[in-house]
């Protein structure tokens, strides 16, 4: 198309009327000239014009051909359709608002979910060139990833098997000024590699990592500076106590720089400080502790992921050639770090059921609207029939009906966008408001902006839903038989009933599915909350402390009148983590990965865990760390199914993958002196520990957390102790929480999931309700003639009501049956992952089914009443 043509087309579009007029004038002029010529040749006045017309041919066809040349027909018909649709909307504003509202709700919820998904999975991190960032580790025979030692990292950096730039990162949690801080120990090139700059002071520099123990500096994130240090403009130069070690704040990163990963990082310190901060073996000493939790780097330009993987595999095998077979590298994990959460199968598996539940609501909304559109299209069948018989193309009619749908979807999309933003904000607020307070401190969310991806998603979703709710009714409505329409019969087509019934059954199915599943979730969360975890959480404070000031902290606690008792544990209960070893008996019974914990003798009485047989550790045994163990009932049953466990011997084999932060068992063989009742040490959703061994320690033992039972109200005491210890022993307290909060935090995600599920289920129910109501009302109107005849022939009110109710109940039964069956599958899936989810929860199933059934009945009741009130004389006179 050249410029000339484009200009002509634009002119034809803008000056449509004038161009039309000109065409008419031009052709009329021609006819006149021709007529004049004929007249001059002697033809009579009237015949001259006629002859001209005959010679000219079809006047309208010529016009149409000329219009086709303009190439604006498509746009013109679209504009025409839009004008037509707007006119019909103006005639029925309620219909329009209902459609827009319903779709907006569905779109809004889905866009909200997408906004969150986008923030975590799709949106690139605000670092330089995020798409070339990869993390690397090798895996061994058992599929376990490797944490690198400093020496390994150094050779990686030197050999450069696949990366041009390399950073070592270790996550480190800290408790500073009464707040938790999630940060990282990193190599000095971290900020250069990621292109991070600062708002205040300076970044970390390679010189900060020039030697072990250098430099005692820290850079805060912008958000941590704002939220946890009140945006103090003089923060640079101040000292922060991290794990009992003072670090000087040298800078605040620029706003939006949150490091790499799904949890926004709040500080960065040199990795050369690892030994000082973690009381661990010297990173650079002969022990070679594995401290680098991961290696981050930039892929060599031009190198593909598979090439890089091959190079890394070769390097890893070479590095592990001298190690035992179980520690040799068998493969590598090379993961893109462009976004907060990498798109891994696990991430997809996590998001897809949630997306499915939300998508189901949108589908329900579409089904509802499709039904409404169908009813409307049927009501317009007379008009459509006339247009068809006048020669309107079916394609053209479908296009016009689809234009209407798209015109409805656009405002719905815009409204949905507003709803989505409100939903995201509201749910974040609700989440923080309903979360246990100590738990909330740990949760930091990524920013969730509505960027271009969200807009594109919303646009695509609105268009897809427009086609979903518009296409089927359009096809159905224009299926009209021209012959029937010409005879004036517009309502004999019964086929739409099938489509409508399918839509209603689908809706009922979906709402049953959503309601039953959220019922199962609610009941599971409830059972979890009321579940006897086997010990008393109330009145207990959990405290993690650094080693340097351990003795003075314990002394201070023992002298505190509010403190009743102090115990120690290697792993605090309900923390979600327990180390494991392989244990076996002389008889050959083996538990390959038995959980274990190191506890002081007070642990059992403090948490009120009864020792069922045998005895507790004595103080002397604890101090000498005697080769003794107390085991849980479940462990005793597994190791000695037919004998008393007390007095027996257990052989212990270390698991090479145990983190170096964990305490390892001190002895290769221990004697069982007691059997304790089963409790939940690890994590509530997983239920009671399937196996657990206790080894003795005292509160003075390194790497143990303290459990403190206090008198009276635990919260104020907890805060007071934290404040007092911060003055007396700065940085000594690494973590301090009431144990109740751990408990509440552990079940919170399930409660939240059940709330979201119920909200979706409730919404689905409302949509279904209005869907059934709409369809039945329409059916009653459509069948009014038939019902009128029935009444005239003597059908009773009750009979007519039953007729309508029966029709709806048939649909309801089908939908409920299908929904319940699908729920079985889904809740089975839930149950297979979580101990507390009962696949066959009768109450959840019964409740869900009953709710939907009564909703269907209620929705059908009013139309059935209306049917019963039909006046036979009026309806029979109608046609």
């Amino acid at each position: 198309m050249n410029w000339n043509e484009l200009l002509l087309r634009i002119r034809a579009l803008i000056l449509r009327k004038r161009v039309e007029q000109e065409l008419d004038e031009e052709l009329q002029f021609h006819l006149e000239m021709e007529a004049r010529k004929n007249a001059a040749a002697g033809v009579r006045e009237g015949e001259a014009a006629l002859l001209a017309r005959i010679r000219f041919g079809g006047f309208q066809q010529v016009k149409e051909e000329c219009r086709a040349i303009r190439g604006t027909q498509l746009i013109e018909t679209v504009l025409q359709d839009i004008r037509y649709a707007l006119k019909s909307f103006r005639r029925s504003p309620t219909f329009m608002l209902t459609v827009v509202g319903t779709i907006a709700l569905g779109l809004g919820l889905n866009t909200a979910l997408f906004t969150i998904f986008n923030a975590y999975v799709l949106r690139p991190l605000s670092v330089r060139d995020p798409y070339s960032l990869y993390s690397f580790t090798w895996i061994d025979r058992a599929g376990e990833g490797h944490a690198f030692s400093w020496r390994e990292f150094e050779s990686f950096r030197k050999d450069k098997p696949a990366f041009t730039e390399t950073v070592a990162v270790q996550f480190l949690y800290a408790h500073v000024n009464g707040h938790p801080l999630m940060g990282e120990l990193v190599t000095g090139n971290y900020f250069q590699v990621l292109g991070g700059s600062v708002a205040l002071g300076r970044t970390l520099l390679p010189t900060d990592c020039s030697a072990p123990g250098r430099e005692a500096v820290i850079v805060l994130s912008y958000r941590a500076w704002q939220d946890k240090f009140g945006g103090d403009p003089n923060v640079v130069g101040k000292k922060l106590w991290l794990h009992g070690y003072p670090l000087e704040v040298v800078g605040v990163a620029k706003q939006g720089f949150n490091g790499v990963g799904d949890v926004p990082r709040e500080y960065w310190a040199p990795i050369t400080m690892a030994s000082q901060l973690e009381d661990g073996p010297d990173l650079f000493g002969p022990d070679h502790p594995n401290a680098m939790s991961w290696i981050l780097g930039r892929l060599k330009p031009g190198s593909s992921v598979s090439q890089a993987k091959a190079a890394l595999t070769g390097w890893s095998q070479q590095m592990t050639a001298d190690l035992a077979d179980s520690e040799k590298a068998t493969g590598v994990i090379l993961q893109s770090r462009a976004t907060a959460i990498s798109v891994t199968p696990e991430a997809v598996a996590f998001f897809s059921p949630i997306a499915a539940a939300f998508g189901l609501v949108l589908l329900l909304a579409c089904a509802n609207v499709a039904n409404m559109m169908l009813a409307r299209a049927m009501a317009r069948q007379r008009e459509i029939g006339i247009r068809l018989s006048l020669g309107a193309g079916r394609r053209r009619l479908i296009r016009q009906l689809l234009t209407e749908s798209i015109l409805l979807a656009i405002p719905a999309g815009l409204a949905g966008f507003v709803i989505s933003q409100a939903t995201v904000q509201l749910s974040l607020r609700l989440m923080f408001a309903t979360m246990p307070s100590d738990f909330a401190e740990f949760i930091t969310t990524l920013p969730m902006p509505a960027d271009a991806r969200v807009f594109v998603f919303m646009l695509a979703a609105s268009l897809v839903s427009a086609v979903l709710f518009g296409l089927a009714p359009a096809i159905q409505a224009t299926r009209n038989n021209v012959m029937l329409a010409a005879r004036g019969e517009f309502t004999t087509d019964v086929r739409p009933a099938r489509l409508r019934n399918m839509l209603v059954v689908g809706q009922i199915t979906a709402s049953v599915l959503l309601l039953i599943c959220s019922g199962v979730l609610i009941r599971g969360a409830d059972r979890m909350r009321n579940f006897a975890i086997g010990f008393r959480t109330h009145g207990v404070i959990i405290m993690g402390i650094g080693e340097k000031l351990r003795t003075s902290v314990i002394a201070r606690l023992r002298s505190e009148p509010m403190v009743e008792m102090v115990a120690a544990a290697g792993s605090t209960p309900l923390n979600g983590m327990l180390p494991s070893v392989s244990v076996s008996t002389a008889a050959g019974e083996t538990v390959p990965s038995a959980w274990y914990n190191h506890v002081s003798p007070e642990y059992f009485s403090l948490l009120e865990i009864p020792i069922l047989r045998g005895r507790n550790f004595t103080g002397d045994e604890a101090r000498s760390r005697a080769p003794l163990a107390i085991i849980s009932e479940a462990t005793a049953r597994r190791l000695w199914p037919n004998a008393d466990a007390v007095g027996q011997e257990i052989r212990i084999q270390h698991d090479p993958h145990t983190n170096w932060g964990e305490q390892l068992p001190q002895h290769a063989a221990v004697r069982v002196i007691g059997v304790a009742r089963d409790i939940v040490t690890c994590s509530i959703p997983w239920g009671k520990d399937p196996s657990l061994l206790y080894f003795p320690i005292t509160p003075a033992s390194a790497r143990s957390s303290l459990l403190i039972r206090v008198k009276g109200n635990v919260e104020p005491t907890c805060r007071r102790l934290d404040a007092e210890l911060a003055v007396m022993a700065p940085g000594a307290v690494e973590e301090i929480h009431p144990l109740d909060q751990y408990f509440a935090g552990g079940i919170y995600p399930f409660r939240a999931a059940s709330w979201v599920g119920s909200a979706l289920g409730g919404l689905a129910l409302v949509l279904t309700l209005s869907g059934i109501y709409g369809v039945l009302s329409y059916l009653v109107t459509q069948r009014s003639k038939e019902i009128g005849i029935r009444i005239a022939l003597g059908a009773t009110t009750r009979g007519v009501t039953r007729l309508v109710l029966q029709q709806s109940m048939r649909l309801a039964t089908m939908g409920i049956g299908l929904g319940a069956m699908l729920s079985l599958g889904v809740s089975r899936l839930l149950g297979s992952h979580l101990v507390f989810m009962n696949t066959f929860d009768l109450l959840a199933y019964g409740g869900g089914v009953l709710l939907v059934a009564s909703a269907c009945l209620a929705a059908a009741y009013f139309p059935s009443r209306r049917a019963a009130r039909i006046n036979p004389i009026e309806t029979l006179r109608y046609d």
Binding site: E5, E26, H30, E34, F56, G57, R70
Partner: protein, 112 residues
């Protein structure tokens, strides 16, 4: 009948004839173009008036002719067409093509 001796135009030759008619530089309206073709061909070629206007509009869209409103010889408003520079080039190309085509057909007819 007189009409029996007239020939309908070959497909695609109407464009060429319109362009050729306008070559003189004089702006003509549609009716005049059809008359001119008929006259010059000594009434042998009959322009299908129904296809004349779509052809004119097509040529205008291709930028080979330009249309302007003017006053006709009878004092009425009429749409006048004249050749553009690119139209002149197009005329040359099409004239050559036509020459080649007729020569080729002539040769075939002579040979047969």
């Amino acid at each position: 009948m007189q009409q029996a001796s007239r020939l309908d135009l070959l497909q695609g030759t109407l464009d060429l004839l319109i362009l050729r008619t306008l070559q003189s530089g004089q702006a003509l309206h549609g009716w005049a173009i059809s008359e001119r073709i008929q006259q010059i061909s000594q009434d042998v070629l009959r322009v299908n008036q129904g296809s004349l206007y779509p052809a004119l509009h097509r040529l205008e869209h291709q930028g080979w002719i330009r249309a302007e409103w003017g006053v006709s010889e009878l004092g009425r408003r009429a749409r006048f067409y004249c050749l553009t520079a690119s139209g002149r080039r197009q005329l040359n190309v099409e004239t050559q093509n036509w020459g080649r085509l007729t020569a080729a057909i002539g040769r075939v007819l002579e040979m047969a």
